[in-house]
Symmetry: C2
Subunit: 877 residues, 2 copies
């Protein structure tokens, strides 16, 4: 049997969303509920997919099926395409599975031509209405279907108004509009080279193709990438018989929400205009009335509408966003869908619906988009202030939130001005670990280079600081302390603003408002916690981060990067001394200076976590990252170290690496310099003993994590050093302390040999940042230079560093889980890459059988919610 | 049942090599053949493994079993440990599965102490012999078992000779030797702190432990790594009752080969000394006699020996290397083994054995070590000249062969002097693609940086040029044109010599001799070709390389790197013009200049290959590799390009990458700049058409290979450009030309998604260099800085870039083969990484089901032989 590509509204139903798109499914559902819906049919998303398979041609099968359904629609409505007595006029709208702004605009009044309009004018006794409809149709068709743009049409209208000496479109009369429609047609022929199509069937197929094409326009592609919508879904096309809100004073059109989409308040909310078509409501020329005013104008229609609204809300068990039209006193429903809402509204609506008994807690949890929570956790621009501002450029939305402040070009200045109470925005080519203190004092960070997982991005997300990264157009003169963007030059102290959620950059100060978390948030998180089976930990390098993570509900630390502590003032000297050591003894002396500092840090972190698990990763980055690169800094360091400058330089040169990502780092440092792991073990264990002495009831079990393991013997070598050191300290202390030794799984070979590694390791923590780099052979610091072309050409639709590549990287993760648990069924499994805070990746981790995810403090609530949703989705399968 | 750890020689057999080691198995075999072997027992390799499991202790079970076998040996020989009338004296020798020089020295005469020696002196009526044996034992035991070194003992002997006024050890009499043995014992106590052990059992266990320990001494570990011997094998220990060649003029000892090990000549070859123990033969104090002279001294023993030699050769069907002792006129066989031989001898022996009907061709093929062929294909030092020379340093043996010539520091000088007829050695910090012409003119290449797969190493191997890379001690002053090594400074024009097979560097000229290939070589290769099922191709970038590869038997080109052609003078300008292009049009203009050059190259390569398959890889390296880095060169290029210097510099900066290996390269270049692939397709196809017009009978099917694919959509994007371009050219030409479009499999994600890629690709060629980098997260240019520590700590035993890591990388290869053939059963599968010329990796490729391997021209014979051996080994399983 051949596929069915077209459905009457009465043939479909609400559950056929994948096939009919959201709009089509809901029109079918409303039809089935007996609501007043202008009838029509939906061309399926599969027809769209077929259109692309057939090289952008509507094949004969589909064409014939559409023709057959035109016939059916003509029978249902008693109207006919091109009929002068009773012409069928239709609207054509796109409608995909997921709501997608940025796709095709609606085409109204399709079916009109010179003859039909003339007779329509006579039949409705409203020539002005008929010709207004006609000129609108020509204009929309030209713009949307033939992509002529609309400016020239607007110009013709303006000229006509000038000629007539009037100000408003509505002041033009039927003759004016008729003349305009003739001018529009001439303009069409001028632009396109052929006559405006007068055959309604030709018009219809043009419009259908335009909808199919719009699925692939750049805005739609971009939107899909941002929202994880696969291009294979395609869009449906809805062909619906027209009803007219502009047939006179008893007609009208409007939009309404069953609850307030900004606040969530449980009250009908919306606006409408009498004697208007849809576009007039949003055009802003006439001021629409609030929905309450309809009660006075037409109480019967209001009551009918009100009843329908709450029938729909109960039916869909969610806040509805609806379009309606009143044609000569009769109400028609044109659309309903779950309404978009602010994050605050989403929480209020979900908890209200539970309190009203309409949904259960599980459904409430499932309703919230985890990504939306970001807006609640970070400062945002004040809505009105933002409206007045225009971005002067954009980079990558690297860390959410809004920030406004004075430009500084060095971390030192950021720290200095920040301590003095100024709001500063740190602008850098790229940040480096040395900048950490200044980044901490900045309200926002802007970089010219680096992607979503660059140093600036990762650190900023960890701190909850707004960051826009990789703005290629930004020309920075760090020495001269200026930058140029959008042809404007900015100096130190000038004000700019950043939106880390959109990547927008503004050349002025914009007022921000702080994040506010309501009681609804806590209730919802509590419900989510009850549902989820995965634990959620946080990545935290300092007691401050740890406390932040706990505030957001983290149940432990999944990644504590010990090297971040190395950059603090007073420590970096000892670190550098260790690096330039020529002998083991020298190195041990330097490490001995670091020991009390690291031990102190770990004590602080254990205290903050009050006995919850803490995973500490041993030194990971290549050593050259700790050395200066600047001539001045090198000379200063040489003096400090009492080394000849040339010798220091030659050490720096000898540490240079062609591909540092794959160089001398991670556990390779320990294999070369076992004394580093000895010192770090000592710090971890001694700190735990000290804290345990003070808090004997805490179940404190430090988890030592060895990075970059690719071979079990490598792991065992390091583990032996750890165990030997730890056991002797514990024995000496007389304290009963347990600890775990596990590994990051971030090298493909570790996944391939996970059974052997698991036999020796207490836990695996997937480091999916590096695993993604190796699996793709993508350097995340360099991928920016080519990923753009990959998105443009639709080779990749997502940034694999932001969303876990389930097909490739995911296969390695699954393999490692299977091999690992086959060797050690109770091995602890977690993830500590950036993906731990991405909802779709969290779902993958749940399905893969991980025990926990770990992410930046500010992403903890997102992960908690996503982990709960993963349980709900898994149940449904 | 518990494991048996000890075997009498009469309990073992030749096939038990894994358990008894080579020496033990052959002693057992000779015993079973009824040959005169002093009896004894072998402690198994498993006992050695157990010793390491038990933390270097011989456990009670093994100890008891050894004690039991001492008893058995006492019964067999009728002698007893410590018995004054008839003492059991034994030798203790190591013996692993594979022959391993560099392991423990032999201990002779074990069982002697003061009392036993005294009575032994009386019983043999030869006190000089008895005390000479005793002092030798104390010396050997102290040195080998207790690791005291032997210099102090030598000093005592010298003092004694001085005191006695004699010159030779043999001039010392019994009393002298007795006194010496007392002095030795005192020295032992002084060094070790306890008395020399007088209990033979204690002596024996000390010696056994020393053998076990020797398995892990640095020389043995190094040898194992060089020869792919796993540390898990362990060594056996052979305990054999002593016979004495030094009991008088009717006694003697010697070594012999059943054929000449240097030439392969089929004639008994060896030497012996009467009245001597083993070490005297090699000590060089007395000149040994040739084996023929034994006929005159003792014709019966000679005849008996001769008969045994050829019985053994027939039995083992291979040339034998034997040790024997004559004790008072009676012949004893102490050892037999397949003899080591030169490459030339190996070929002659193998073909002779076939001609003699002793073995078949398959066995002849299996006998040759493929790695040995290198010596036949490259120049070597003259043996005598080399003996006189001493290395002043060493690097990595990056490309085999020997070279001698004058030092130059730039590729330009190398080319200039080379053209003028001088032999030059190019000395560089590291080479870059720009150096290619100079490298071609150099006899040898020496670099301070880079590993076995660095640019210098890979290119040198391709050219068959000797190369020593990564000599860290080399201090080069490229500007001043000097280098320092081993405290000596060398200037441009000074002579040095390199051995690319050992890595040795000599500070003088050493005479070399050219490679010579005999008829035996061709016969053997012909037999190998008859056996193997895998094809062998060569990697070749130029018509010259292609011809070289064919000369060595290549059946096609598996990898033609198009970018190597870009560096030639007259081309690089156009390449750079392409890179700095701001628009597609500018880029196309530059590419149009490259087109005729590339087309010409491909025509030359097709002509050289006469219709055999040619795989051409599209542009792979990141573009910045083509731009200069030197200030002067940048200025020159800017002038040439008519660009402001600052603009060119900013282009170079913008192309800088953090991790270029994982950056903007491979097919990513085509995704960004499709016009590059268009040009290259045009060159490949137009060249094929031109050549086919001239040679209509050739079956010329160009194979276009897309590098660095990680996702099928990426492959399809590039393939579409290739197919569109190619098909239109072919159509226009009217020539019937087929071509293939396939991909390198070198990114882990390509292996993980190989089924999807195979559905679109005509072939896979495994690029195991990059695949190894990504699987391990090892940058091959940087791995040198940490791999040393990994070898030392026995985490890795092999360089994964030289020998395919079958456990990790191999798993990905196998996965890709399985997935690929599941989607396309007849997909062509090959390998073109450096591993294609490594015998063990070739065997892996055969077992994995690949259709061909491809390697440097000079490795083609090795791969042909290894591929045949893989078939033979697979048959045996």
């Amino acid at each position: 049997m051949s596929k069915k590509f077209v459905y009457l509204f009465s043939e479909g139903k609400g559950s056929m969303r994948d096939l009919l798109g959201g709009k089509g499914a809901n029109l079918a559902e409303m039809t089935n509920l007996g609501m007043p819906v202008p009838q029509g049919f939906t061309i399926t998303t599969e027809a769209c997919t077929q259109y692309y398979i057939d090289d952008e041609v509507i094949n004969d099968d589909i064409r014939n099926e559409i023709m057959q359904y035109i016939g059916e629609l003509e029978q249902i409505t008693g109207k006919k395409f091109g009929d002068l007595n009773n012409p069928l006029l239709v609207s054509v709208r796109s409608g995909s599975r997921a709501s997608m702004p940025g796709m095709m605009d609606t085409i109204l009044n399709l079916g009109l031509n010179d003859e039909v309009t003339a007779s329509f004018a006579k039949k409705t006794s409203n020539p002005r209405f008929a010709y207004d409809s006609y000129r609108r149709f020509i204009q929309m068709y030209s713009d949307v279907v033939m992509e002529t743009g609309k400016s020239y049409f607007e110009k013709l209208i303006d000229e006509m108004k000038e000629k007539r000496g009037v100000h408003l479109d509505t002041d033009l009369d039927a003759d004016d509009l008729k003349e305009l429609s003739m001018q529009f047609k001439a303009e069409y022929k001028n632009k396109i080279g052929s006559d405006f199509p007068s055959d309604p069937v030709e018009q219809l197929f043009g419009a259908i193709k335009a909808v199919f094409r719009s699925w692939d326009n750049p805005r739609a592609v971009y939107y899909r990438r941002m929202n994880d919508i696969p291009s294979s879904w395609g869009t449906a096309v809805n062909v619906q018989s027209m009803v007219f809100g502009n047939m006179g004073d008893t007609s009208g059109t409007g939009v309404a929400f069953s609850r307030n989409p900004a606040t969530g308040e449980a009250k009908l909310y919306g606006e409408f205009l009498m004697n208007a078509q849809g576009e007039d409501v949003v055009a802003g020329i006439r001021t629409p009335k609030t929905i309450d005013e309809l009660k006075a104008i037409n109480p019967e229609v209001y009551d009918e509408f009100y009843k329908i609204v709450y029938t729909l809300e109960k039916h869909y068990k969610d806040m509805q966003d609806m379009e309606f039209t009143i044609e000569e006193g009769k109400l028609y429903m044109l659309q309903t869908r779950n309404g978009k809402r602010t994050a605050a509204a989403a929480l209020k609506i979900a908890t209200d619906l539970v309190d009203e008994g309409m949904i259960d807690e599980e459904r409430a949890v499932a309703m919230i988009d985890p990504k939306q929570l970001d807006a609640l956790l970070h400062p945002q621009f004040e809505t009105e202030a933002l409206k007045a501002a225009k971005p002067i450029g954009a980079g990558l939305p690297a860390s959410p939130g809004a920030a406004s402040g004075q430009v500084v070009f060095t971390a030192e200045t950021a720290a200095e001005w920040g301590k003095a109470g100024s709001s500063v925005i740190l602008v850098r080519l790229e940040t480096s670990p040395e900048d950490i203190e200044g980044m901490n004092y900045a309200k926002g960070i802007l970089t010219a280079r680096g992607g979503m997982t660059s140093h600036a991005a990762v650190v900023a997300r960890g701190m909850g600081t707004c960051c826009v990264s990789g703005c290629g157009e930004l020309k920075i003169d760090e020495k001269g302390k200026t930058f140029t963007l959008g042809e404007k030059k900015f100096r130190e102290g000038d004000y700019i603003s950043l939106d880390g959620s959109t990547g927008n950059i503004y050349g002025e100060a914009i007022a921000t408002m702080d994040a506010t978390i309501s009681g609804d948030f806590d209730r919802l998180m509590h419900w989510a916690d009850g549902l989820r089976t995965m634990k959620v930990r946080t990545n935290a390098d300092t007691p401050f981060d740890a406390a932040q993570g706990r505030k957001f509900g983290a149940e432990g630390i999944g990644l504590c990067r010990t090297e971040h502590m190395f950059f603090e003032a007073g420590r970096i000297a000892a670190v550098r001394e260790m690096i330039v050591s020529n002998t083991v003894e020298q190195r041990k002396t330097a490490l001995a200076k670091l020991l009390p500092m690291q031990r102190g840090d770990f004590e602080g972190i254990y205290e903050a976590m009050e006995g919850l698990p803490v995973t500490i990763r041993f030194l990971d980055p290549p050593l050259h990252e700790f050395l200066p690169t600047d001539e001045d800094d090198i000379v200063a360091l040489a003096n400090e170290m009492k080394l000849p400058v040339e010798e220091l330089k030659s050490i720096i040169v000898s540490l240079h690496e062609f591909n540092p990502m794959m160089g001398h780092r991670g556990c390779r440092l320990t294999v070369s310099y076992p004394e580093i792991a000895e010192m770090q073990t000592r710090a971890v264990i001694e700190a735990a003993i000290n804290v345990k002495k003070r808090n004997p009831d805490w179940e404190l079990v430090p988890e030592i994590m060895i990075p970059l393991v690719g071979e079990v013997k490598e792991f065992v070598y390091v583990k032996n050093i750890v165990v030997e050191t730890a056991d002797s300290i514990i024995k000496e202390s007389g304290i009963d302390l347990k600890y775990l030794v596990g590994t990051m799984i971030e090298v493909p070979r570790a996944c391939l040999t996970a059974d052997k590694i698991a036999a020796e390791a207490d836990f695996f923590s997937f480091g999916t940042n590096d695993l993604t780099q190796m699996t793709f052979a993508f350097s995340r610091d360099d991928a920016g230079s080519f990923l753009g072309a990959y998105y443009d050409k639709k080779i990749y639709e997502n940034d694999p560093f932001a969303r876990l590549d389930q097909e490739g990287v995911g296969q390695l993760v699954t393999m490692a889980v299977e091999k690992g648990t086959s060797a050690k069924p109770d091995i602890k499994l977690g993830i500590c890459g950036e993906h731990g805070g991405d909802p779709s990746s969290v779902e993958f981790c749940h399905d893969a059988g991980l025990n926990y995810v770990s992410c930046s403090p500010f992403r903890v609530p997102i992960a908690r919610l996503a982990a709960a949703q993963a349980v709900i989705k898994a149940k449904k399968r």
